[in-house]
Symmetry: C2
Subunit: 496 residues, 2 copies
């Protein structure tokens, strides 16, 4: 069984670099002094290159193939080796120097994006965006596939998807959501201005640390929450999951829902069977599936009345002058109110998919050449006006709001909408298996997490998203669950 | 000049691993979830092994020697290469697996020390301490030197020192300090109980962040302060220096002086000429010299009246109910009061060297076998009673208080006392070059730092400690400056 020993050693070495890169990255995003970046970044890129060199070691392909073909080897290991082989074939033709240069350019691009966002000046970021698109395209073109680059990117984040798939998906969404949003806009607005008073950040932090995180089950032994401009989650293993959030003084719910969202991602990674730790199956199976878990927690659980029956009294006690006169029903209505807006991460559940649709159309246009870089910002602004009826006042609240393009994560955005739709189907099933409302009311939030663990999370990337969907809900993915849910929820909320 | 290209490439690769290890370490010490350690630690040790393998690459010794011998190469580079060659010769005979095993054992030992300290139970830590001593001894014994192991350890941290050197140094100290401390103990005590009221930690943090760190010139662009059980400083390059502190609710000065101390270390690393960045000369030349800078800041600057003339009003304003009635003179007397005590990091300037003497004698005994492990704790307690007249009530306040032994830093402690003595000689010189008091009063703390930069810090490890001392003060190191300073200061303070 010499091949298995080689395989284990190879995985271990790669996982050491991946761990280092993950820690260096979260350090950079949270606390690392900015002026040190010019020293750290080239060294980080070098280490990424070492990981890449191990991953693409040509001697390993025959070892992986031998493991896949060996009926004596257990099924999990064969699946894992096959997954490695598939991913390696995507990158093995890329010269290491080019990969390292890509990593370096990504670091520079992130720094430029941050600077551009702070200055609200797209022109600072534009050359980097151009470079990111070109470099990403070039990396993809090393593959044998003849599919359009953007199709391949979509498939990378969500195996099995394509432009055709998402065109259809968004068509179905548009058809039912655009008229629904139109009716909501015409309806009597929900009063929610009390959410946007002054809520001192220190007290928000204290409530999050002392009440919310414990309620969510996010234990310090395996998780840590920090603060960043753009909240995210990263991890090195099941017992090391980091989230970030951002506190806004004039918006008490922003950090709360970003916390619930990111901790949802963290739960997914924490709940993956530890036997996959340190290897390629030890991660959410796809970006859409990951987002399904985080948006499930944020919206399906976190915006529900039972969730707040457990948590609203302590929030009120923390902010008596702001919330004492607001009954829980009014608070819950307010956190669900819908209003076309500028910022994706602050968007309500109903208009959110249109923010995604806009990014999808822009990315498609960037990659098929129909939208030139110099027209990207005006295209962005135009789509916001067309789909959401809002005027973008500046780059910071427009094209520069998201981090994703700065690190070349093209093709990621659509998975947010897909994940939301996956979540609806899980929610439908969970409610028939479990009294979700009582669990939330009684502080047993983790009962819901346990359902997700059993039916989705434990598998990591052992099964495909569509296999997991079928095992968990007994049928293939159907966006109708999502649309039914939104229609029912918002019709009732706005008395349509 | 092919050899210089190989040399640059070799240094770059090593520096990438060292950067990663530094970040992984500070991450572990500050925020990394504890349960992830069993995943992270073996991978960290693997990466340390990769760095070790590059460092000890046998092909490099001839390259280094060729650079050292080449008169065409600039002096700095030749000195740097010679320093590498000297350090490599210390470790090149160590098998890589043994080095990696040492790193792994160190991680486990740190975790055990933390657990033992929290439980105040030395028996949890004892087997690890035993292992650390044995492993450290074995690593040293691979060298060609025939000197006793502890002599070599002392020389590692402070080149040129030995048991003989420190025996003499501590003898001189004991001779003058023990009677001085005795007289202080007999004198009228200084009232300082007001320092140990309740000072809410959040307000301490706010004052440190908004007043103290800016006064010290510790800028967010190149530095970051976090919190840990045991304060320390680490760095990856001139523009990435991290410090930690620890806030105690019932002791307002603990975090203040630990902050000034650690930022003193950070300034040293920040001020090293950036042309040494990423290589072996880019660090303080010795542990004693490092401690001289940090203890200079903490004691010679931080405990002075002019320092507090700039900072006391804002501290009073931050804690009006605790400090409003305390005049500045009384406050400064209190932060300098001397009283034999249990905890080294909380000790006053006068009794501090005896805490170090105790550790020095114990380490010497551990390595020459005169103190068996099972008697170490009683030896510790006995020495505290003999030299300081205090009874150690538990392991947490005794043998488990310091982190150093958990990571096998044997031989480090004596450099604290030596550094304090170096600092006195620098202080004597600085006062004749610069009006220190006016600078501190007027908020120009960094004028003092600039003096240290010019005379000490910029050189990194380019010159030996004794060369730096001579260049900066015009004479070799003389402990009398230190003893004179302490005698004068405490005689005046206690009206002896």
């Amino acid at each position: 069984m010499d091949k298995l020993k080689r395989y284990e050693d190879w995985k271990f070495r790669m996982s050491a670099y991946d761990m280092a890169l993950s820690i260096i990255n979260i350090d950079k995003m949270t606390v690392a002094p900015a002026a040190g970046a010019s020293y750290r970044d080239p060294r980080t890129a070098y280490l990424a290159g070492e990981s890449f060199a191990i991953m693409t070691d040509p001697d390993m392909i025959p070892v992986l193939d031998a493991i896949v073909d060996d009926p004596e080897v257990d099924e999990d290991t064969r699946k894992e080796a096959a997954t490695y082989a598939r991913e390696i074939r995507k990158i093995q033709a890329v010269p290491k120097e080019e990969y390292v240069a890509f990593e370096e350019a990504t670091n520079a691009s992130y720094d430029a994006w941050l600077e551009a966002k702070n200055a609200s000046d797209y022109s600072i970021f534009e050359p980097h965006l151009r470079e990111m698109v070109e470099r990403r395209r070039k990396l993809i073109e090393y593959r044998e596939s003849t599919l359009p680059v953007y199709d391949q990117l979509l498939d990378d984040y969500e195996p099995g998807t394509s432009i055709e798939f998402y065109d259809q998906f968004f068509e179905v969404l548009k058809e039912r959501l655009v008229p629904l949003i139109h009716r909501v806009v015409q309806a009597e607005p929900i009063e929610d201005s009390f959410l946007y008073q002054s809520f001192p950040v220190n007290e928000q932090k204290a409530w999050t640390t002392e009440v919310l995180l414990p309620y969510l089950g996010f234990a310090p032994s395996w998780g840590y929450q920090n603060e960043t401009e753009h909240p995210f989650t990263s991890w090195t293993c099941e017992n090391d999951c980091r989230t970030t959030t951002k506190y806004l003084e004039d918006n008490v719910i922003s950090s709360i829902f970003s916390t619930i969202h990111e901790v949802g991602h963290a739960w997914y990674e924490h709940n993956i069977d530890p036997r996959y730790d340190g290897a390629i199956l030890s991660t959410g199976v796809s970006s859409g599936m990951h987002e399904s878990q985080s948006r499930f927690c944020e919206n399906y659980l976190g915006r529900s009345l039972p969730f707040w029956q457990a948590n609203y009294p302590s929030l009120q006690a923390c902010f008596p002058s702001q919330l004492a006169g607001i009954p829980i029903e009014q608070f819950v209505q307010a956190v669900n109110s819908s209003r076309p807006s500028l910022i994706r991460t602050e968007a309500d559940e109903l208009t959110y998919p249109l923010h995604i649709l806009i990014r999808y159309e822009l990315e498609k246009g960037l990659f098929d050449g129909s939208i030139p870089f110099e027209q990207l910002e005006s295209a962005w602004n135009e789509l916001y006006e067309r789909y959401l009826g809002v005027i973008v006042p500046n780059s910071r609240s427009g094209i520069l709001q998201d981090v994703h393009w700065s690190d070349a994560s093209f093709g990621y955005f659509p998975t947010y909408a897909l994940g939301s739709a996956f979540a609806a189907q899980f929610y439908h099933q969970m409610r028939s298996d479990l009294d979700v409302d009582v669990a939330l009311q009684e502080g047993r939030y983790t009962d819901c997490i346990d359902w997700l663990k059993t039916h989705v999370q434990q598998y990591g990337a052992r099964y495909q998203a569509d296999e997991i969907m079928k095992m968990a809900t007994g049928e293939p993915f159907r966006p109708e669950y999502y649309l039914d849910y939104l229609e029912e929820k918002y019709s009732s909320l706005y008395h349509l």
